[in-house]
């Protein structure tokens, strides 16, 4: 049963971009476009009026015409080439909408005339040298369409004061790539000072933009502590409405275990540099994994609150508090191992990127 639910998690996560991007279109009717027929008619009516005038000698600035009508009247003026069906519909100035009159100009959209496609493809080639221009063009295309970018961020790098032994945690990520496809890496780990790390992992992911603010990510995760495991990873990362940063991923280990993780953060600016960041993380498992102390279902929950000060955007120390709960069977495993399933951490750390 639980397995089934958890299987659907990646799907759920994948659907995030859907609800994120598509608000209901139905209400869009609120903006009323001007009636195109009426406008066109009005325009044509105007054209007719003007075609009877002596254009060359007309002093337009002095014409006694409501200012409102000027743009359309003149821009529609007959210069000889536009066919004008005579129409008798009365002009209703009160319904005229300036902006859409300009929009609904009678000038037809269409492809360029055939001579616009005359050779050469690149005009400078013959004069400057085709090879030289090709090389120059290639470098400009690269420059203008996005040189690959690298980014490294330590979202959390912190000292954790708590009952018993104090500990540490790191949570870093970064990428290298272009606008759509990137190589993405993540690493997380924590432990107590003077002991082996409790957990440590790295992920290597291919990241592909699937929506304006969402990337799909797939790759591998290697655990570096405990019973070492390798996992296949699939997930999404991005910015949800209300500016929640979300990172959801599902993992299938080489032992067949299925787990998932959802993290969310929200930056609340108090001033331009002082930022309060609530954070939540849920870990789930499709099955008991006793050797890792993981129970099926909701395995672990964390809630944190961090207050950081951005001396510069790239460097911000913070203080905060984070509460961790092991839940259900995971809590039983923890108690059996002599650990407290609920831990409060007082944290101090830095957030940085470059």
């Amino acid at each position: 049963m639980k397995r089934a639910i958890l299987f659907s998690l990646p799907l759920l996560a994948l659907s995030a971009p859907g609800w994120a991007e598509q608000h209901d279109h139905a209400t869009a009717a609120q903006v009323e476009p001007a009636d195109p027929a009426a406008t066109t008619t009005a325009a044509q009516q105007e054209v007719m009026d003007h075609s009877a005038m002596e254009h060359g000698e007309m002093e337009h600035g002095k014409m006694d015409m409501p200012v409102d009508q000027e743009p359309m009247a003149h821009s529609q003026m007959d210069h000889g080439s536009v066919p004008m069906p005579r129409q008798e519909a009365p002009m209703d100035a009160s319904k005229m909408d300036h902006a859409s009159m300009v929009d609904q100009s009678p000038i037809p959209a269409g492809p360029p005339p055939p001579e616009a496609f005359s050779a050469p493809a690149f005009a400078a080639d013959e004069f400057v040298g085709a090879d030289k221009m090709a090389a120059s063009r290639a470098s400009v295309v690269r420059e203008v369409s996005g040189v690959p970018v690298y980014w490294f961020q330590a979202d959390r790098a912190e000292y954790r004061a708590r009952e018993g032994k104090d500990g540490y945690l790191w949570d870093v990520q970064g990428y290298y790539g272009g606008d759509i496809d990137k190589f993405w890496f993540k690493s997380e780990g924590e432990g107590n000072f003077g002991e082996k790390p409790e957990s440590a992992e790295v992920q290597a992911l291919w990241s592909h933009a699937i929506a304006p603010r969402w990337d799909i990510q797939a790759g591998v995760r290697q655990d570096l502590t405990g019973p070492e495991r390798t996992h296949a990873v699939i997930g999404v990362q991005g910015l949800a409405p209300y500016l929640f940063e979300l990172d959801a991923a599902a993992f299938v280990s080489n032992k067949g275990d299925i787990t998932a993780r959802i993290e969310g953060e929200l930056d609340q600016r108090i001033t331009q540099r002082l930022i309060l960041q609530p954070r939540a993380e849920l870990s789930l498992s499709a099955q008991d994994i006793p050797e890792l102390g993981i129970g099926a279902g909701l395995d672990r929950a964390e809630l944190g609150l961090r207050l950081r000060y951005e001396f510069v955007r790239e460097f911000a120390p913070y203080i905060g508090v984070e509460q961790e709960w092991k839940v259900g069977k995971s809590a039983d495993y923890a108690r059996a191992a002599g650990e407290d399933p609920s831990v409060t951490n007082y944290v101090v750390g830095i957030r940085l990127w470059f």
Binding site: H23, P71, S105, P112, A124, R142, E143, A209, P212, W353
Partner: protein
């Protein structure tokens, strides 16, 4: 923030005044300059038929800031070219710098091979190389030149004044260039990378729990739900930029002299890489007489917004006043460039404080108020963000509104729902300033236009982007996707081009090698001719173009980091020989 931090910036600026005077007097070697000579501020004047322009690396200092710059003939800005309509010009560009370079003659009608765009009309002039530009001067007015590479934000730009072959249309006693620019101590590559990886890293005017923006909780939640920022006015602003007038920072005390009773022509050129400016001279009306080098019927205003690459010539009459402040306030009001118009050296007028930062409105989201709003063409702006509440449930990205040639994907984060013509808009933040502000609708060409044919074809181009990923494009496609698929015009074709802005930023769109006529309601034969047009956020703008300059021409957003991340295309005009045999 807002006021507290901004005051701090100002105070810091003022405090550095004294220090700077001292530091500026010391030679470069005494200040431990190891990496290049120190750039001089301000331009020398070059006139005549033959020039040499030498590009070099330099250090630049302004206020307390110091960093890498690029000079041409030793100065930032580079030399003022003072030319005469009808003359020929030969310029030898010598590259003594460490980067590839070029000069683009912004607004000049030149043969395409002389247009100076690497990858389009020439190859970049590599370090140690030379390149000869040679062309006739076919026009008069105020223009400028700049590198078409990332040297531009570092200082590689300068003004051009071309005196008409015949009479000047206006009389005046003094003629000054006021070249506006923005300079940062950070290298352009670093700026671009930070814009890519972080969310508005240079904006220190974001909404916070303690700001005093006039936004209700519900409005703030609506912006958060859309994942957009009402304060996303400028990508790079005063926390990084110093705003320069003719190379001089606000502390430098740049002066323009006048005698009581004189008429003064000021030629404003926005040579900034990333900044729109709101220009005013408190206490003095400005009569706009030319836009983008082309004479317009005089319009008296108290303020105007100038987008990147635009130029406006104004005439002011200071009368018996002592001194007036020329204020070039950045559009996001994070900082300003300053100079004094003064009747005696050292006289100072009061410097007005920065005004409160503006907020984006519903109109900037591409939502007009329906019929009533667009009817008058005036009150789009009045649809403040407040009015947008009932729009909260609407899609900000209904891609079904886009024509089929627009590529839909992660590169488009917004589609303007009802993109109305916004030429009557004075620009972000200027609707309620309480005095006369120039709009495009007020521009009327002083002379009849050379081509008054009705366009035979409409070409619609969408300005698209994703603020979060910092991707910018035309029709959803970056330059790499359209390298072999340019925007094509037939020689001498008359085309109406409609630009639809599907983003929440204003884009100054520049077409090389041509003038086009804004479809702004002016009579057809007097539509104002321009080389650059601002398309307001969520709105549209149209121009009529006679494609009478054969060749390949760059077409791009003049915000340099928009251009350099994809909002760039090539316009071809064929056949190359004009097809007349």
């Amino acid at each position: 923030m807002t006021s507290i931090d901004r005051r701090k910036f100002l105070t810091a600026g003022t405090a550095s005044l004294g220090a700077l005077g001292f530091v500026g007097a010391m030679p470069a070697w005494a200040r431990g300059t190891l990496d290049g000579t120190l750039a001089r501020r301000g331009s020398d004047v070059l006139s005549g038929d033959y020039q040499t322009m030498t590009v070099a690396d330099a250090m630049f200092t302004t206020g307390t800031r110091r960093g890498p710059g690029v000079t041409v003939n030793g100065t930032i800005p580079g030399p003022l070219l003072r030319l005469k309509e009808g003359q020929n010009l030969v310029v030898d560009l010598v590259n003594d710098s460490s980067m590839g370079t070029s000069i683009h003659w912004h607004g000049l009608l030149v043969p395409f091979l002389m247009d100076g765009v690497p990858g389009v009309t020439m190859a970049a002039v590599e370090p140690g190389e030379r390149f000869r530009y040679e062309f006739p001067i076919r026009q008069a007015g105020t223009y400028w030149w700049h590198a078409h590479t990332l040297q531009e934000p570092m200082g590689h730009y300068g003004p051009i004044i071309i005196d008409p072959a015949g009479e000047e249309a206006h009389s005046y006693d003094r003629d000054y260039v006021v070249m506006l620019s923005d300079w940062s101590p950070m290298h352009p590559h670093t700026i671009m990378k930070k814009l890519k990886v972080a969310d508005a890293p240079f904006n220190f005017q974001k909404t916070t729990a303690t700001d005093n923006y006039p936004l209700s909780g519900a409005e703030r939640r609506m912006w958060a739900r859309m994942r957009m920022m009402p304060t996303d006015i400028s990508d790079v602003s005063a926390p990084l930029f110093t705003y320069l007038l003719n190379g001089h920072g606000p502390e430098d005390g740049l002066e323009f002299a006048f005698r009581p009773g004189e008429r003064v022509r000021l030629r404003f050129i926005n040579g900034a890489a990333m900044s729109f400016f709101n220009v005013r001279i408190p206490g003095l009306a400005m009569t706009v007489i030319a836009a983008d080098g082309q004479d317009v019927r005089p319009v008296e205003v108290d303020e105007f917004q100038i987008g990147n690459a635009e130029t406006y010539d104004v005439i002011v009459e200071p009368g018996a006043g002592d001194a007036f402040t020329i204020v070039a306030e950045a559009m996001d009001r994070s900082g300003m460039g300053l100079a004094m118009l003064t009747s005696r050296p050292g006289l100072r007028a009061q410097v007005p404080p920065l005004r409160d930062p503006p907020l984006l409105t519903m109109a900037d989201m591409g939502m007009s108020q329906g019929g009533a709003g667009s009817m008058t063409g005036m009150d789009h702006g009045e649809a403040s963000a407040g009015g947008a509440m009932d729009m909260g449930s609407m899609s900000m990205r209904d891609t079904s509104l886009l024509p089929p040639n627009v590529k839909v994907g992660p590169g488009i984060d917004m589609v303007a729902m009802n993109p109305v013509d916004r030429m009557g808009d004075p620009g972000t933040g200027l609707k309620d300033v309480g005095h006369r502000v120039l709009t495009y609708k007020q521009l009327v060409a002083a002379r009849m236009n050379p081509d008054m044919r009705q366009p035979t074809r409409l070409k619609e181009i969408h300005l698209t982007g994703n603020m979060e990923r910092y991707m910018w494009s035309f029709d959803g496609k970056k330059f790499s996707a359209v390298t072999d698929d340019p925007i094509r015009f037939a020689f001498n074709e008359r085309v109406r081009v409609k630009l639809v802005n599907d983003t929440m930023m204003a884009h100054p769109i520049h077409l090389h090698g041509h003038f086009f006529e804004l479809v702004n309601g002016a009579p057809g034969m007097h539509q104002p001719r321009k080389h650059t047009v601002i398309v307001q956020p969520g709105g549209s703008a149209q121009f009529d173009l006679t494609a009478n300059e054969p060749g390949d021409w760059a077409f791009h957003c003049h915000l340099i980091y928009h251009m350099h991340t994809g909002m760039f295309q090539v316009v071809t005009v064929r056949p190359l020989d004009g097809g007349e045999g």
